[in-house]
């Protein structure tokens, strides 16, 4: 049986008809498009394509010994395109080699500006291109959602660790960092600070004035500490400061005195000013001799030192 060339071209736009001597008799129109200009009919099939799997072949009998097998090959010349192939005898001593771009179709279409009319209507290549584009669009949409969710999660975490009134860390942020520092085996100090005379401000000047004082005190504590230190509000007028890397008793005393002096500066409010002071208890975590109760023990030590400072007359600091 011999088919008219236009039938072969329409059914198999990527085929190559090969005579018994290995000469290319005709080429499908799409294959002609991807070959270098001037290449093609008249050449030997082995000059146009390099068949390398299951094994290298260069003559028609060798090619037909692989009839019905999946062939892997690449175009010689500048394109170097990888293709899949299937060769079968043509009934007259020659062979028909039909080719496909396989999953390289996206790249091939782009590189050679192919259109849907370059593929047989039965070829799934166009559907595959469709699928690639559709999947990319769907993935992009999915990734956008993930990015937004990640941002929302970070914002929620941030909120969960923040005291809304002062913007300082909260109890949760303190516990989190304390556990990390203890696990890391670091030596560090805990300053437990409690405002003196705050209750009077709240009772006599109102909650708005009290809130204003807390905000100003928070600002003061942030000013006197470094960026990576933690300042947390853990109760109405109770704060904890973790000055990272600062464990020298003299320097801690300096910091405590500075804090108290600055907190005692009168705070302007709508109807005049208010004045508070602060007492501070300081405990030190020594990784070689840790508190048996961990985080709670360390805070209890600082708390005990704080009450010692209060008993001694307030507006001062004490060490555990």
């Amino acid at each position: 049986m011999s088919l008219p060339p236009e039938t072969m071209a329409a059914l198999m736009p990527l085929h190559m008809a090969i005579g018994p001597d290995g000469q290319v008799v005709s080429l499908g129109p799409t294959l002609a498009k991807v070959l270098d200009p001037g290449e093609g009919e008249g050449a030997s099939f082995a000059q146009l394509v390099e068949i390398y799997r299951p094994r290298a072949v260069s003559t028609v009998p060798e090619l037909l010994s692989l009839a019905g097998r999946k062939l892997q090959l690449r175009l010689r010349g500048r394109a170097g395109l990888a293709l899949k192939g299937l060769a079968m005898p043509d009934g007259h001593g020659g062979a028909v080699l039909n080719l496909s771009f396989g999953i390289g179709v996206v790249e091939a279409v782009r590189r050679h500006a192919l259109t849907s009319s370059d593929f047989a209507a039965t070829d799934l290549a166009i559907d595959m291109l469709y699928l690639v584009e559709a999947k990319s669009a769907a993935m992009e949409s999915s990734r956008t959602l993930n990015r937004r969710l990640q941002g929302a999660m970070q914002a929620a975490e941030q909120r969960a660790f923040t005291d809304p009134l002062t913007g300082l860390g909260n109890r949760r942020a303190l516990d989190h960092l304390l556990q990390r520092l203890i696990r890391g085996g670091e030596r560090f100090a805990v300053l437990h600070l409690d405002l003196d005379h705050f209750k009077q401000v709240n009772d006599s000047r109102g909650h708005a004035a009290g809130d204003r004082v807390l905000q100003v005190v928070a600002r003061t504590m942030l000013d006197l500490t470094r960026k990576n230190d933690l300042v947390a509000r853990i109760g109405g007028d109770e704060f904890v400061i973790l000055p990272l890397g600062l464990t020298d008793r003299d320097r801690l005393s300096d910091l405590a005195r500075q804090l108290i002096a600055r907190i005692e500066v009168p705070v302007p409010i709508e109807s005049g000013t208010c004045q508070v002071s602060a007492s501070i208890g300081i405990s030190l975590h020594d990784p070689d001799c840790p508190s048996p109760d961990g985080v709670a023990g360390l805070l209890a030590q600082a708390d005990a030192a704080l009450y010692a400072a209060k008993r001694e007359g307030r507006s001062r600091h004490a060490f555990a």
């Binding site: 590189r111 050679h112 192919l114 469709y130 559709a134 949409s141 990734r143 959602l145 937004r148």
Partner: protein, 204 residues
């Protein structure tokens, strides 16, 4: 209902009328969050509320807004990816019409849980067609009007001269009448298979 449909409504209103107008419509519709996510699911009633709020705010008929959404889907630069996917339907507008019955299947290939109404194309004499759209209960009302907008925009995209319009709806289906006068009336917009925008690779 699939979030893609809800998100489309939001993007259309934002891109066409501005973020402020969208925020106002979202407020009138009493949305929990002023953003629909394309990959989540929503109650059809929520989307219907947004459309009602848009009708009031824009002082425009619901069917006209829906048809504008269809046009927006094909013509807005933000939706170039979708226009390309639609152009895979065929080499000219008639070919494209013949591919419409495959559309719900193609959509599912891209997004497995995206359920579009069934479509049926009937040939009439003299280049005339009737397209039947069969929405399910889970679909928002009026997808036929969106389809009219899509078809008009696709006819322009192919450069075809076409007359088409919504021809009524019953409980079970909506009908669209289409007459193709000339498939190569104007130049249309280009579509190259290899012309897909480069895939965006964004970190984090």
């Amino acid at each position: 209902m699939h979030g893609l449909l809800a998100r489309t409504l939001q993007c259309f209103l934002q891109d066409t009328y501005g973020a402020g107008t969208w925020a106002e419509i979202a407020r009138r519709a009493d949305l929990d969050s002023p953003d629909f996510e394309a990959m989540l699911n929503y109650e059809p009633a929520t989307v219907a509320r947004v459309l009602e709020a848009a009708v009031l705010r824009l002082d425009k008929a619901g069917d006209a807004i829906l048809e504008d959404i269809g046009t927006y889907l094909i013509t807005h630069p933000n939706n170039e990816g979708l226009r390309r996917l639609m152009r895979y339907g065929g080499i000219d507008f008639i070919d494209f019409l013949h591919s419409l019955e495959d559309l719900p299947g193609r959509a599912r290939l891209a997004v497995a849980d995206l359920d579009l109404p069934e479509l049926e194309l009937c040939d009439r004499d003299g280049g005339a067609f009737e397209l039947i759209c069969r929405p399910r209960r889970s679909h928002p009302r009026g997808l036929g009007h969106v389809l009219v907008g899509v078809l008009r925009a696709m006819a322009d995209d192919y450069g075809a001269l076409v007359m088409l319009g919504h021809a009524g709806e019953s409980a079970a289906h909506e009908r669209i009448e289409i007459t193709v006068v000339q498939t190569d009336f104007a130049a249309g917009r280009s579509f190259e298979l290899g012309g897909a925008p480069p895939r965006q690779v964004k970190g984090g």
